[in-house]
Every structure is written in C-alpha cells, then in structure tokens.
Symmetry: C2
C-alpha cells in the first residue's frame, strides 16, 4: 500500500490495481502481540487504512484475490478469486511483488492438531487470543525465541499463563549478543517463564487431535497452546520457473530502486531482499520498517518509470540500506540493537571488538535513575563504530538510534565519545551512557 499511495501521489493518472489475497489490506502487524495480551483492546485499531480510504485515492483494490502465477515475458499474471477458486489473467506495465512472507511451519508429527498456531495476520491473532481467553488452557509453549516468540512471552505472561519457550540456538533472542540476551532471559525467568535454549522441537503431542504437549530433543512439556515462531518464508512461489534472481530462501533480489532482476518487475517488503548498508550485500530482514521504506521507494521509481522520467543517472531516492536495527519490549525491559553483531562482523571478514558497560540512564541523584547495559562493537583497526546493543528499563531503544546515525555517518569511537549530546539530570548524565561506552574503547 505504501507503493500504491506513493504512485498515486506522484501521478494520479497512473492506473494502480492492488490484488490482496486476504480481506484486510493494510494494518500494523507489529501490534498483534499486544492485541493478544489485551494491552490493545481492539484489533481494528491496528488498521492503518480501510478499503474505502484506499479506494478514495483512486486505487483499484481487489480483496480476496491471490496472484498464483506470473508470466514475465508476456507481462501477465494469473489471479485466483479465493472465494470461488475461479482464475483469470490480467496484464501489467509494471508489476510490484509485495506478497510478504508467511510463518514457517516445520515438518513434524502432530502439526495439524488443534491448539497449534502461528502468528502473522490478524486472523491468526484473533485465534490465539480466543484460545488464550479459555481459562482451562493454562500451559503455553512457544517454539522459537526470536522477536515474535519473545513478544509472545510477554503476551502470555501478562495473561497469567504458564509459559515455556524453546529455542534451538544456544541463547534466547539470538539476535542479541550473549551479555544482552542473558539479561533478557533473566527478566523472563523472574516473571516465571521457563526459557529453554539449545532445545529443538521434535514433535507435537496430540490426543484425539488436540494438542497436549510439545516434545523436544531433550524433554516434553505439557501444552494447551503452542505457537510456532520459527521465522518466515517469502511468499514468492508464483515466480517459480520465471528465472528471477532470488536469495537462497526465495526472496526476490532487488536493487537500490527496488527493481528485480527481470524487466518491469519490482519487489518490496518481506518477499524481497534488502541491502545491508555495512556489509554491502543482500540480506533478508523481514521487518515492518524495511517494508515501509522499500514500498515507498518502489512506488516512487515505478511512477518515474511509468512517466518516462526514470533514467540511469537521474535522481530519485535510492535505498542506502539497512543496519539491522530492531527493538523489543520484554516485560519491564527494552532492548535494541543496530549494526553488526560480533559474529556477523566476523562472518563478513571484518575485524570486530566490543566493550560492555553499564551506566545510569540519567543522573543518579535525580529520581528513578536505572542502569542501561550497553555493548558497543567497533573496528579494532580504525575504531569505526560497527554496531551496538542495549538493554535497560528505560532509554535503551532511542540511544541505539543515535548509534544508527553514527554508523551511517561513519563516526569512530573517539569522535563519538565527545559528541555533544543533550544533558540535564532528568534525561542523561553529564557523560551519557553513549559516551561511557565509546570512551571505554582504548
């Protein structure tokens, strides 16, 4: 929808048809864990734009229509009406793949039992919330300890359930380095959540077609509800045999304008690759922020292409790329990261070192000061800032945004350690957490 709106803003005369397989076209999926917990009372508040609002912009929105096949040479698509199963052909001048991703489903025994969920859409969330509201369903197992799994820890913990989370990696929230992950795991444990890193799903145990337990390579846990949070797969099967260039997982590879490897085909969001600014390589980071930026950029370039104003040397915004920024609220904590982790940097052949500090979010003599644990990752040769991760009760997330700007601007720890950050006792210490971290690099 970002692309569609952008195109219509630039050139209202361009005909824009949107095929959407579901019935809800534009919503804040990142709010779903908070709808499950009840913090957000009504899923309708997650709707960003109603079908009427979309159509009022001159966009031809066709809900319940799934694109099932693309014929790039003929510039045609095969579309199926979901309600009737009936198929028809349509044609395009420019095609934008914005088909997103779906929750991965492992091939294990018991997968089709009642009580097993994935979380990707509003209907998914409604189903999970309904199950969770049944007081007889006490035991919840979350399979997968990434961002969505961790957000569901909070949701189910808030609802008073017995929560077990299993994660096959060696630590909870493996997107964070061990020192940060450990603090998050402690927070979950303090709320009574059982975190089991280093355990893999073996199978789902059912009785009479209803889930009763989750079995791992090490143990079995009673379960009335299991949510599988095992990552997502780009929905690009309709490109099969088209010869389009993809990442190993099927995400369409795009350039800085969001154009794919095939003429007149563009891609944005969770079905597309994204450029990593620091690694200067294509990555897969299916996040709402990336999707929104890519959609807007795709819209701009598609409109320029359609208008004949797009040229190889001409203007138009290019996406410099992402830094892998992300933030999560976990019970009383906020934790955020940007840039490269130590392992990522090493995997990319970059030298990387880190310092770990803890410093108060604001002056200790002003009420309610609390510590922020801050891990700064930098190049040992030139001290360029490569990444950062932080966790604390307050003031962790936005401080990571400061690091995002510093990475984009190429700052080194020496400059950053003397950067003129705002200071007053309710907001920072005279040497802010950010300074303390940068100045810990010797």
């Amino acid at each position: 929808m970002s692309a569609a709106f952008k195109i219509k803003r630039i050139a209202p005369s361009i005909e824009v048809v949107v095929y959407e397989a579901g019935l809800i076209p534009s919503y804040g999926a990142c709010g779903l864990p908070y709808f499950i917990s009840g913090v957000i009372a009504d899923w309708q508040s997650l709707i960003a734009r109603t079908p009427e609002e979309i159509r009022s912009q001159g966009i031809d929105l066709r809900l319940g229509h799934r694109v099932v096949k693309i014929y790039p040479k003929e510039r045609r698509i095969l579309v199926r009406r979901e309600a009737t199963g009936e198929c028809f052909l349509d044609s395009y001048d420019e095609f934008l793949a914005a088909t997103g991703a779906r929750a991965a489903r492992p091939k294990v025994e018991g997968l089709d039992s009642r009580g097993i969920y994935t979380l990707g859409t509003i209907p998914d969330a409604i189903a999970i919330r309904e199950a969770a509201l049944d007081p007889a369903k006490r035991n919840v197992v979350i399979v997968g300890g990434g961002f969505i799994g961790a957000e569901l820890v909070e949701s189910f913990s808030t609802l008073g359930k017995n929560v077990v989370l299993i994660e096959k990696a060696a630590r909870f929230l493996p997107q964070f380095e061990g020192e940060i992950s450990a603090i998050l795991a402690e927070e979950a444990a303090a709320a009574g959540v059982v975190i089991k890193p280093g355990e893999s799903l073996a199978h789902l145990v059912a009785a009479d077609g209803t889930l009763v337990g989750v079995s791992t390579d090490r143990a079995e846990y009673p379960a009335d509800i299991a949510v599988l949070c095992l990552g997502v797969k780009p929905q690009t099967a309709y490109f099969e045999a088209s010869g389009i260039d993809t990442l190993a997982n099927g995400a369409l590879r795009v350039d800085a304008r969001m154009h794919s490897s095939l003429p007149h085909i563009w891609a944005a969001g969770d079905c597309a690759s994204v450029r990593h600014f620091q690694l200067d390589s294509d990555a897969y980071l299916p996040l709402g922020t990336n999707a929104n930026k890519q959609g807007r950029l795709a819209g701009e370039h598609i409109a320029r292409e359609a208008l004949g104003t797009e040229g190889p040397r001409e203007g138009g915004k290019r996406f410099a790329g992402v830094l892998g920024s992300a933030v999560i609220k976990l019970l009383g904590l906020e934790a955020a990261r940007t840039g490269l982790g130590l392992e990522e940097a090493k995997a990319a052949g970059l030298g990387a070192a880190s310092v770990l500090i803890s410093a108060p979010d604001h002056a200790v003599y002003y009420p309610d000061s609390s510590p922020v644990t801050f891990l700064l990752i930098y190049s040992p040769t030139d001290h360029r800032i490569l990444g950062a991760q932080a966790v604390g009760r307050r003031g962790a997330a936005l401080r990571i945004d400061v690091i995002a700007a510093a990475i984009q601007g190429g700052l080194c720890t020496e400059e950053f350690g003397l950067l003129d950050l705002c200071y007053a006792p309710p907001f920072a210490s005279v040497w802010d957490v950010l300074h303390v971290a940068a100045n810990a690099v010797k």
Copy 2:
C-alpha cells in the same frame, strides 16, 4: 576535577595542586533546581566526589583558596586564603584555569535588598530553598527566561508559589525557535505561571531593605523572592593585564587541546571558550557537558606536556567542538535542541530552511502515545542537516541526540529520512518522528 583526575590516571607521579575558592569542590550544579523544588531531598546527593576521595587519588586539594592574580612570565600565581585574607605566591609548570563563571548581576537599584538571589552554587540553592519554604513568601519573580530561569519556573511552580517570569527577549526560552518556545510557554501558563517576554528589569523595589516588588519597563510585580537568571560571566579577572586572548565576555580562548594563547596556560569549563563544530568559530556555551569534556581533554594534554610526549603531530584527543545541544524539563514537557537555530545559521551567513512537523512518539494504537513537535533545520542547497529542536511529553530529548550524531556525521535529509531506526509499537512508529521530519523536506 576532571582534569586533575585525568592527569593522575595518566601519570600518578605528576604533582597536582587544586586551589578551590569555595568549600565544596565537585558537584552536580545542574541538579540544584531540583533540590530547590524538593524533588532531590538532599543537596549532599549532588556531591560527585568528596575531598577525601579527591585526596585519596594523590591530588593536593586546597579548599577556601582563591587564585587572585597570575604572572604568566614568572609562572607564578598569587593565592588568597579566604578565611584569613592572607596571600601567598605559588609557582607552576602548567596552569589550568577552571575557575568557572558566576551569575551576572545587573546594575539596578535595590540589588542588595533581602530576598534577591542568583543560582550558581550549593550555598545559593540552600538560601533559595530556605526562602521558598517560608509559607509567607508567596510571590516569586524570576528575572530571565533562559534554561536556569525556566527550570526555576518548574521548581517554584512545584512548590505552589505564584510565579512571574520576565524575559527581555521576544520569547520565553529564546534558545528555542518560536514554534517550540510557544509550546513551552503554554505549558508554564497552564500551570498558572505568568510569562512576560519582551519586558526588561528596571529596578528592584524594597521596603526597609526587604524586597517587595520587581519593576520592569512595563509593569511592577509583587515579589517576596526574586531570582536573577541573567546569564553568567567567566571568572577570569585574575588574568587582567596578562595579555591572554579572550572572547569579548572575558572567556579564555582555547585551542582543540584546551591550551590558551599564553605558554603553559590551559583553560576548561565555564571560564573558557568552546569551539562550535559547525560554525568553526569560538563560542561561549557554559554547560556542564562542555566543561566535563574540556576538563578531561585538558588533563590528557597537560599530562602529555608534562611527560614530554606531547608533540604537534602526535595523537591525543582533540575536541572537534560542540553543537549547542541542550535539553530542559519543564513541568510535563521535555524540550531539546542541537545544532544551529535559524537565526544562528543566518547570522553565520549559512543558508537555512526549516520544516515543522508533529508526529506520535510511538505507534498510536499502543497505549500512551503522545505527539512530539519537531523542527528540523537544514541547508536549502544540499539538504545537509544543520539543527533540530523538539518538544513533547516523552521521547523528545533522546531523538535530538540522534540528530546530533547525524550533524557530526554530515548526513543530509534524504539519507536520514531512510535511516534504519529501531521500530516496535511501544517505542516508535514505523515512520519515526525523525523520519517524518526529514521526509517533510522536499
């Protein structure tokens, strides 16, 4: 003290003597308004380091000793014991001026009446707090609407006083552009504070030597307490006739190592100039952050000089300069600024334009979202970010720090509008306030 500690850390063998005119050597002066309001119960919590802690580092701390004259050619100083008035000479290899600034006192009638205060030191704050605790003293007039004046608005408002603030500039908190200042003035007005911009102090009205009113060029206000917040003057009178280079206000001009224009004399803090990173000129910005950074740098370079390791092409941190970053809490609001204001940029001959936006601090569907008003200042030619100012109930201050990093890194609005900032509903919208501001630049 930052310099003294730094020197001792680098080279414990260097003899460091600290002359301090007062009796409290090292404290967080920025906390004083909160001690006056009672939010900080005990002024002793503001003490950063006790004399014992300082001396335990091998620093020869001499309290109650004022340096009254310096003889740069002879490398000698004249020191007065404040208790006895007795003077003696001492000599130095390297001298650091860290004598700070004192509150400016206007030459007006009635200045010596009881009930008139300035705020610079712990004894000042104790005196103001004692006066404020007298329930008979209902009417407070604050003269000067800069940062300290505005913080005292909060202090006295919290204590339930009738507060009038007069400011000779055309607006309250003139460090902010009009749009931001107006929101802050409204917040004060909503708490019952009477803000009178465009009024100048005429004289102080006393009866029997006790303050009863404050008279301006326009009106007279009843006053039991008046606090004069009219800026500060660097305490550098002991350099008189030394030939040292100063700014017009008497601040000692220093280079990026904190060295003054005279051999073996260094300066740091509120008695020194500071380099403005963007203007590449010497400014006077007497703030705790600047002072701490300058002190630490001065200590490093003094130690290197004393050890003979300082050379013109050698390492050692240089101060790239400040951006004029500052933040204030005013009742329920936080307001911050960094970089150049529109007037500052124009005064420096730089083209500058601005956009003003308002956007929610986090996703509107997540509880307690509130708007941040954000003014972004940029170069109309290359869209380089020049400055920003923000005000809101939450999330304004740290977002300004992101802009500080962006200015230091030389980012333009196009890059910044697609910067990979952290997103999750409790912390930001998918297009953050910062993106919305940058993308409003066309």
